[in-house]
Amino acid sequence: MLYNEPSPLEVKVLTKRFELPNSAALDTYLSTDGYQAFQKALGMTPEQIIEEVKASALRGRGGAGFPTGMKWSFVPRNSPKPKYIICNADESEPGTCKDRVLMENDPHQLIEGMMIAGRAVDSHAGYIYIRGEYRYLIEVMDKAIEEAYARGILGDNAMGSGWAFHVYTHTGAGAYECGEETALLDSIEGKRGIPRLKPPFPAVSGAWQSPTILNNVETYCAVPAIIRDGGAAFAALGTPKNGGTRLFCLSGHVNKPGVYELPMGFNLLRMIDEVGGGMRNGKKLKAVIPGGSSCPVLKADECDLAMDYDAVAKAKSMLGSGGVVIMDEDTCMVKAMLRIMRFYAHESCGWCIPCREGTTWLRKVLVRFHEGGGRKSDIDLMYDVARNMLGRTFCALGDAAAMPMMSFVEKFRDEFEAHLDGRPCPYEHAHELAAV
């Protein structure tokens, strides 16, 4: 089911079946090129599959943007240990809701992507780690998996190839941290989701101490099109080193928020105006978080920007997970930052001190500050605490909290200053902030 109207500006590769009736059904998938890429992959060597993925310039859609083909090439294929294909469907970066629609509307595309990854590294088992809140998607995926077994697509003789591949779902139970790949691995092993020391990287020692490919839902979903139509064709849809399309999740103060598949490098202002239908109530744009709440915020005058990994990095932010959060002129940036920090303080696993203490103290200072009890020195203090977390935590969660904090202070210092001297928040409703 679609939750928003598609946009005519979309380039539909991963979402091309979304508008078909029964788009999630195996018959629909089979009648629209489904599992043909896997058939083609059966005639390719693992090296050829990996080269094709490299040629596509596909980069990880979970947030880090690591080149997928390279990640696959790190798996020691000759290892005597079993290898695992794990799909990160723990979508929980605030602002991000794309993996949901991919699984809901085209579950077989994900299964096929995982099967091709399995062929590339000689794995025989895949696990889809789905966040616990997405219970209905566990049911959607289980149904699709069952259909695939019934038709001999999955199983000990996958599509008559003599090669075995099995796919299973695994439910999470509420923890943002489990979206971090090594925390996810501890979680799937039945433990608390605490990140692991790297190296070894999951490619060498991942799930159950075995070589593991771990990618996001959207990353696997891009693989069938890459193998079917060639890596070069996928790469050509995007910009250099940023192949293909990606699903952008527009949220906040636009007229038509929604999930839209657009080519990499699509201009952010056009995304807001032409895809998102412009700003709500004719308000002016103040700021955008371009890729989920961990990414440094962009001011309105920084938004004339190509949305690919490299261009957004050059603008000192990140393309992240595709969650584009759009804020208008009436948004209190102190309050927005406070809400983001409350989230990271809540989700910090507590394993390492800079993250656990840093997020908690930043939350406390922000609460006091927003309530009008701020001191001028707090502004630099918050910046310093964040700067000292950056790069000094066990996993990226500490960075994810530090980066927005630093950017909010750098770019909206005036709004922090407007809260000083016991002055009430200058923005409407701001005083209603729930007790923290």
């Binding site: 979508e91 809701c97 695994h170 092993e189 608390r192 989701g193 959060v325 729930a434």
Partner: protein, 169 residues
């Protein structure tokens, strides 16, 4: 402990899908699905899951405190989870959360005296483009206004009343 045949079938599946000797992996799925049936995670349930997965009860217990969806106390029959994270905040998620508390007369993670409703302020649930969003148990509701929430709560009350009458007959 005894469970429904459906849950037992799930348990059997969970114990089979992980690599040999890795049945500890089934702990969290077993706890979450069991909680849906039993209402809360009790020490009896922890011991049962530990026995079936071949681990110490403490190894099960320590996961309960980590995962926010696992609860040691029963929730309401309808657990209303309101997201107030950034995307929802921008379009009224916080006002919706305040409204829900006022409407039901309870606070965060509290249960109404009749056991019918509980409320929880939750983090991003993956409905950012259709916000503000809530979940009632596992069901998503998008673009929720205070008026829509009122209607939903009233409908759930009526549904429960009809259920009660049907069971009594």
């Amino acid at each position: 402990m005894t469970f429904s045949p459906e849950l037992e079938a799930k348990f059997d599946k969970f114990l089979k899908i992980y690599p040999p000797g890795r049945q500890r992996s089934a702990i969290v799925p077993m706890l979450l699905y069991a909680q849906d049936e039993t209402g809360a995670i009790t020490s009896e349930l922890i011991a049962e899951v530990a026995r079936r997965c071949g681990v110490q009860p403490l190894q099960v217990d320590e996961t309960v405190g980590y995962y926010s969806m696992l609860h040691r106390k029963p929730l309401g029959k309808y657990h209303i989870q309101v997201c107030t994270n950034i995307s929802c905040l921008l379009v009224g998620g916080e006002e919706l959360y305040e409204h829900a508390k006022k409407k039901l007369g309870i606070g965060n993670k509290e249960v109404t005296p009749d056991g019918l409703f509980s409320i929880e302020e939750v983090e991003c649930m993956g409905a950012c483009s259709w916000s503000p969003a809530i979940q009632v148990n596992y069901d998503f509701h998008h673009e929720v206004t205070p008026e829509k929430l009122d209607r939903l709560i009233d409908d759930l009350r009526a549904l429960h009343a009809a259920d009660t009458v049907r069971k009594a007959q």
